[in-house]
């Protein structure tokens, strides 16, 4: 048993180390096109319902893509500054990531709240069920089990 446990411990350790190594690795330098794609993925096309500028083929989206490409090419502004520039002109409707202030933050906090409530309900349900101690088996019960074990020809099916 101990070797089993230590093998499992070793496996988890191996996975963690490999994951840590891979998580901190990067996939090469970020090209200009990567930057453009990243910025346009965080801007909403103003004439669509929730599509990003990166996805949408609408004319307003193409115009914004051209502008973003121009600014990325000019290399003066950072990603956040470019997003602010577009937001200043089109309004906050063009931000694809809802802000974390005011009423908008509900879209982040509600899922978190739901998850916490769901998990606590689950945990409390298991605790409640675990507390129910089953009564001691009766003599008849024991005989029943003995017979059933003797009769069964098949080891437990898994399906």
């Amino acid at each position: 048993m101990k070797t089993r446990k230590s093998i499992w411990l070793a496996m988890f350790l191996l996975v963690s180390v490999l994951l840590a190594f891979g998580a901190t690795r990067s996939g090469g330098p970020q090209t200009q096109q990567d930057r453009i794609d990243l910025v346009t993925s965080h801007l909403a096309c103003p004439t669509c319902s929730g599509e990003s500028v990166f996805v949408s083929r609408a004319s307003a989206a193409e115009a914004i893509r051209t502008e973003v490409a121009r600014q990325v090419g000019a290399g003066i502004r950072t990603d956040d500054e470019i997003i602010s520039y577009i937001e200043q002109r089109f309004g906050s409707e063009v931000l694809l990531v809802p802000r974390s202030t005011g009423l908008d933050s509900l879209v982040w906090s509600l899922p978190a709240a739901v998850l916490i409530i769901a998990l606590s309900l689950l945990v409390s349900a298991f605790a409640r069920w675990g507390r129910r101690t089953p009564g001691a088996p009766s003599v008849a019960d024991e005989a029943l089990v003995k017979n059933a074990l003797a009769e069964s020809t098949r080891v437990g099916d898994e399906s």
């Binding site: 103003p46 115009a63 914004i64 051209t66 200043q88 002109r89 089109f90």
Partner: protein, 183 residues
């Protein structure tokens, strides 16, 4: 899972959410043709250098000293078609007054031919400006047409109207601006 109270609580929550959703949807009123905010208001207008659909050059800088009205337009957009006659009347009024405003149509995602045909059929002889790659629309932050912008003789953006114009709205706003400007 069998708590009767849990089921009752869930049903009440569901009912509450439904009722509020319905209320919210029914109560909301559409808004249209309104004077809107923009971070450009009171700021110098973006530099606009382009050409008309008849290939005449246009430079916003050289229009300083006049009131300039930009109308972002698309020949298939229904509110644009609806407000067209109001713009024709507006252009006529401004043409006959001194220091009249200059009206320009900015073509938004439309072909020059379609725009030309529309104006031939429906009148309106003011200049229509091409918008390469939608750069002018992006500079002003115009996503939906129609939109109407007013720029004063000093080149500052003064008014933004989103949606279809209502009768007299543009004239009233412009007159108010003129008063403030001369005083």
């Amino acid at each position: 899972m069998g708590s009767k109270y849990l089921v009752k609580i869930v049903s009440s929550v569901v009912a509450l959410v439904l009722v509020s959703l319905l209320w919210v949807l029914i109560v909301s009123k559409p808004s249209d043709g309104q004077v809107a905010r923009s971070p450009l208001l009171g700021q110098p207008a973006p530099a606009i250098v382009t050409a008309t659909i008849d290939d005449q050059p246009f430079d916003l800088q050289r229009r300083k000293g006049s009131w300039v009205v930009f109308n972002f337009f698309n020949s298939t957009c229904v509110p644009c078609i609806n407000e067209h006659d109001l713009l024709v009347d507006f252009a006529k009024r401004e043409a006959t007054s001194d220091n009249g405003a200059e009206l320009y149509t900015v073509v938004n995602d439309d072909s020059d031919d379609a725009v030309r045909n529309f104006f031939t059929k429906n009148g309106g002889d003011w200049a229509k400006l091409k918008d390469e790659n939608g750069a002018i629309a992006v500079a002003f932050g115009v996503a939906r047409v129609p939109e109407t912008w007013v720029i004063d003789p000093n080149g500052l953006v003064r008014i933004r109207v989103t949606g279809e114009l209502s009768e007299g709205l543009l004239e009233a706003q412009l007159d108010k601006l003129r008063e403030e400007f001369t005083s």
